[in-house]
Structure formats: structure tokens, C-alpha cells
């Protein structure tokens, strides 16, 4: 069954009294407990798409269902933003427990669940630190802990690893896969990075800009295979994606776009 179901999604916004389509006729299906990756050029509306799924943007036309519910009704979605969205004035501990606090969970339960998730992600010894005292990878772990503590069914990530160095990035990708296998989450990730898309996405969606829409969709059997990174098929898949990605980018430079 599809966890994410999007049909004929249209999002317009006003700029200088002109209506501009941020997203046009977007169709997307992602089965439950699978991983999807969206890649596409800057400004193609990827983040707009996530904001709709995360119920941060109610102004859209078309059909959007998450496990059969509208984003507004669905309470099982977690969002991780590009710059992690951690609050610099809260310690690791306070950042992670925030979601439970807002949901009004009793204090003793908050403490034990926070401790559990921090342990699981290897963050317990850092619990008293502030985000500025952490490395990029550690910050990303905190962001993941903060989302997973709510036991979501859908995890949305907006270029989560873009500011990490190559090694840390791979480490975080491995961690994410591990967590996915363990929790059977549905995960939808936005990325600029083609290798990341092939490594993480069982389904890969390529978007073009102007109008922002999905131009191609791939099933990717290589996703989640730790040994895949160096294999021939992996590189081939990357090169196919790259050519489509370029096409999307060209659209972004077309006159209609500028």
C-alpha cells in the first residue's frame, strides 16, 4: 500500500502580481516502509513539496494523502531540515525531548524515552552540550534523534547531509539505512547528490524546474546495499540519473523560467 499518494498537485504563489506555479501536476506514490529520493535542480519546488507533506503549507490544489489521511490530519510525520533546525539555546537533551514536551507526554516518560533514543544514536555523553559545541555529523544525529523520538511513520528530510564532509556523509547514510531497516519507516529525502540518491532511494524521482514537476521515476534495486557503492551497476545508475538531472537543469534555464 502507498504511504504517500499525490495526484495532480498544483501549488501557485504570487510574485509581482503574477501567478507563478511552484509545482504543477505532480504525481507521486511511495509504498509504506520504503525509501524515496527526490532530486532536481535548485528552485524546482522540492522543498515546497516537502512543506506540503509536513503540513507547513496548506495552500495547494490536488490530492495529497499520507497513509490515507491529509497532511493536516496526519500526526505521524517528522521533518528534518537542511540546517537541522536545532535550537541553539537548548542542550542536546532539551532539543531531543522537545517534541514529546509539546505533545504533553508525562515528564518521567519523556526522560526515559529521551535517554533511550540518545543511547541508540550514541549521543548520551553529549546530552549537556549545545548545538554549537557539536560537529556537523553530531548535529545531524541530534536532528534524527529529535525526529525519531516521536516514533513517526513518515520521515521527511530536506538535503539532510549536504553540509557534511564525504566520510561523515557516508556514515550518516549508513546510519539512516540501519534505522530504516529497524523501524520500517517510510522515508522521503530531497538531495542534490546523485550517489546519495542511488544509495538511499528505492524509488528515485527526478524533478524539473519551471514548472516544478516530476519528469521521471526509477525503481532502484541497488538501494540499501552497503556493498553497492563501488559496483558497476551503481555507477551506471548514477550516470543515467545524471543525464536526466541535466535535462531538468536545462529546463531551469529555459526562458519561461527566467
Amino acid at each position: 500500500m502507498d504511504y504517500i499518494y499525490i495526484r495532480s498537485l498544483q501549488v501557485d504563489y504570487l510574485q509581482n502580481n503574477q501567478t507563478i506555479a511552484a509545482l504543477e501536476n505532480v504525481n507521486l506514490s511511495l509504498p509504506q516502509a520504503s525509501t524515496g529520493v527526490i532530486i532536481g535542480p535548485s528552485g524546482c519546488g522540492k522543498s515546497t513539496l516537502l512543506s506540503i507533506l509536513a503540513n507547513l503549507n496548506p495552500n495547494y490544489e490536488g490530492r495529497v494523502l499520507l497513509n490515507g489521511k491529509t497532511p493536516r490530519e496526519s500526526r505521524d510525520t517528522a521533518l528534518i531540515l537542511q540546517e537541522y533546525g536545532l535550537l541553539p539555546w537548548k542542550t542536546v537533551w532539551d532539543n531531543v525531548k522537545l517534541g514529546l514536551q509539546i505533545r504533553g507526554i508525562p515528564k518521567n516518560k519523556i526522560a526515559s524515552r529521551t535517554e533511550d533514543i540518545l543511547k541508540k544514536l550514541g549521543l548520551l555523553s553529549l546530552r549537556k552540550r549545545f548545538p554549537t559545541q557539536l560537529s556537523g555529523g553530531q548535529r545531524q544525529r541530534v536532528a534524527i534523534a529529535r525526529s525519531l523520538i516521536l516514533e513517526p511513520k513518515l520521515l521527511l528530510m530536506d538535503e539532510p547531509f549536504s553540509s557534511l564532509d564525504a566520510l561523515t556523509r557516508e556514515e550518516m547514510q549508513d546510519l539512516l539505512l540501519e534505522l530504516w531497516k529497524e523501524t520500517h519507516l517510510t522515508i522521503l529525502i530531497i538531495t542534490h547528490n546523485i550517489e546519495e540518491a542511488v544509495f538511499l532511494g528505492q524509488k528515485i524521482f527526478i524533478m524539473s524546474a519551471c514548472p516544478g514537476t516530476i519528469i521521471q521515476e526509477f525503481e532502484n534495486p541497488l538501494a540499501g546495499d552497503h556493498t553497492a557503492r563501488g559496483k558497476m551497476e551503481f555507477l551506471e545508475m548514477c550516470s543515467i540519473l545524471r543525464s536526466y538531472f541535466r535535462r531538468g537543469e536545462k529546463d531551469a534555464l529555459s526562458p519561461a523560467c527566467l
Binding site: A78, L87, R129
Partner: protein
Amino acid sequence: MRFLPLASKILHILATIGFLLVSWQIFSILLDTPAFPPPEQAVRSFLKIFRSDLAGHLGVSFYRIMFSLVVATILGVPLGLFLGKSKKADRLSAPFIYLTYPVPKVVFLPIILILLGIGNTSKIVLITLIVFYQILVTTRDAAKNLPKEYILSIRSLRATERELYQHIYFPACLPAILTSLRLGLGTAMAVLFLVETYATREGIGFFIMDSWSSLAYDQMFAGIIAMGLMGFILYLLLDFGEKVLCSWVNP
């Protein structure tokens, strides 16, 4: 480990006080007038009259300053946060703030005296009014310039409005609020002196002017020392508050 920075800080403060006293001494020798007594005379006078006379005036002034700062904070911070958060409210109020903010509020001293009398209320209202604006504008701007991600990340957790203030706006703007309080304190001290020179027989401002008119210059300087000390202690308190409340800024 903790001892060393503290010791060096205290040493630094002592050295600065020493430097100020030496400069004062040099000036008093150069000026050679009874209106500018050497520090030793002023300090002696300070010690002599502190308990009998100065402490009472100091207490009144301290009360006026603290009361004004507290009221200005209670009014300015929530309103500033609200205006910074709500674009609509900000748009509506912006012309009013921009038109009234640059008007030096001390010009309202006469009218405030007429309306509120010569007691403490008029003095506190004037200081409050001035400091309130500084806190309001600084807080509003800090709230307005808050990075969007913070707000999005907690809104995606379905936080209520109150929780947005509690977890985002207030803590994020706290450093700016404390800075505005520090600036406000400087202004408040200046205004305090002014309002205490009118229609009152209490307060450190009155004490200084009274000593001046009776040509008791050593007492006048004792008053100046007292006022300086009060400001210094209030600054230290704010500093301490910042260390405790905003430890995340320089962890």
C-alpha cells in the same frame, strides 16, 4: 581552573579602579580648585556619610531605577516579541513607533509632573517610558530577524502559539533583551539624575545637586561615587543574569 579567570578578572577591575583614581588625582592637582577635590577626600567623605545620609538617598534611587526597569521589561518584552512575530501588527504599529521613538521623552517631564505630581510616580513613569522604547524596538527587531528554520522546525511538531513564544521567540531574543536592558540602564541612570534634580528631596541626584549648592564638594563627589557604584553593581547583576540565562551564546 575556574579560579584563575576570576582572579584575573578581579585584578583587572582593581587595576582599572587604580587607574581611574590616579587620573582623578592628577586632574585635581592640575585643576587646583575646591570644586574638584582629590579622590582621597571624596572617598573619606563617602565613608563618613554613607550610613548617616547617602545610603537613604541611594536606596530611593535604586528603588526608582529597579522599578522602572522591571516595569519597562514587563511591558516592552512581550509587546516587542508580539510585534516581531506578527507581520500585521508590526505593519500597523511601525509608523507609530517610528514617529514617537526619536522624540526625546525627557521633554515630557513638565507634563508628566503636572499630570502625576512630584512624587515617585512621575519619575518612575518617565524613566520607564524611555527604557520601554529601547527594549521594545530591540526585542521586536530580534524577533523579526529570527531564522525561519527555527520556527518551521517547531511548527512541524505542531506547537501552539504559546509554545512558539516559550521555546523559540523568548529564549532566542533573550540575549538581545539583555543587551537592550544594559543600554537602557545607562539611559535610565542619566534620566534618573535629571528627574531627581527637580521637585524632590530624596535620591542620589538630589543629594549631588544639594551638596553642590551648599559648596560641599567632597560630599558631591561622594554622591557621584555612590551613583557610579550603583550603576556598576546593576551592570554586574545584568552580566550575571546573562551568564546564567544565555549560557548557550558562549558555551
